[in-house]
Symmetry: D2
Subunit: 91 residues, 4 copies
Amino acid sequence: MNSLCDLDKKDLLLRLRRIEGQVRGIQRMIEEDKYCVDILTQVNAIRGALKMVGLKILDRHTHGCVKEAIKNEEGDKIIDELMEVLAKFTD
Amino acid sequence: MNSLCDLDKKDLLLRLRRIEGQVRGIQRMIEEDKYCVDILTQVNAIRGALKMVGLKILDRHTHGCVKEAIKNEEGDKIIDELMEVLAKFTD
Amino acid sequence: MNSLCDLDKKDLLLRLRRIEGQVRGIQRMIEEDKYCVDILTQVNAIRGALKMVGLKILDRHTHGCVKEAIKNEEGDKIIDELMEVLAKFTD
Amino acid sequence: MNSLCDLDKKDLLLRLRRIEGQVRGIQRMIEEDKYCVDILTQVNAIRGALKMVGLKILDRHTHGCVKEAIKNEEGDKIIDELMEVLAKFTD
């Protein structure tokens, strides 16, 4: 189980479907010999959109699972796990 | 026209199709209530894969269009353009 | 008050003093007309070191202040604050 | 020799001296037990300032050394070197 309510899920799925479309769009741009810098601009847009998705999941996870675990005196393990995924997120 | 040869294109399209599949995979994980941290790990993986795509396009663009423009004494404009897209890429 | 114990502080101060020295080192490299790419390599090293400092403070803060606040039923505000600083950290 | 003119150098040295002061400021904040989130905000500020320094050096290097090398038919090696430092810069 995760900490995403139906509203979160709907929002995230919408964002991810849009990102999926953008990734397909880049494939088309490459096939059609579009200008590299325009392709890179699209890559940047997707990276930004994915970061937003990551931050939203992080937010829900912390407000949900992490808070719950801390209240049940099981906070340290889940915080270590959070920090590990965070370190990779900032790469 | 861009600086991607057929070999570059094939490699990039393969990577992007894989990324597209990973984005669909995350949607499935959300629908199936998978654990947030596992979803985040997947988000990180896609971000890394997209960065690699960006770096490869950047590399081909610099070895191709940028080099060509500099030889034709039109380097400064294309370098300014490159730096602008780079600044966003490092966000 | 923050969540840093004496041991954390000592470690962080050591790291920051080293970073301060590296920043001075870059100034010297610029004054001595060192090669740009070597300067950039040093800039990257400092950015990495600063990220590590940030991650360590983040870790202590979450294990300390955030955990404490959640136990005192004041978690949501401090988590929002954490997410805000995190969003900037990932820029 | 690098591609920095006296004006670039003066600007970069000014920025680096400011960054050095900010790094010292964080050490003071830690010694005075300032709030973690305020320290992190300062860490973010320095990271942003260092990124700007890196982008400026990158810009001068590309407009200078890289352009020159390409005109002298020695472009590919210097572009490979540029891409390598860039890949680390985007970490």
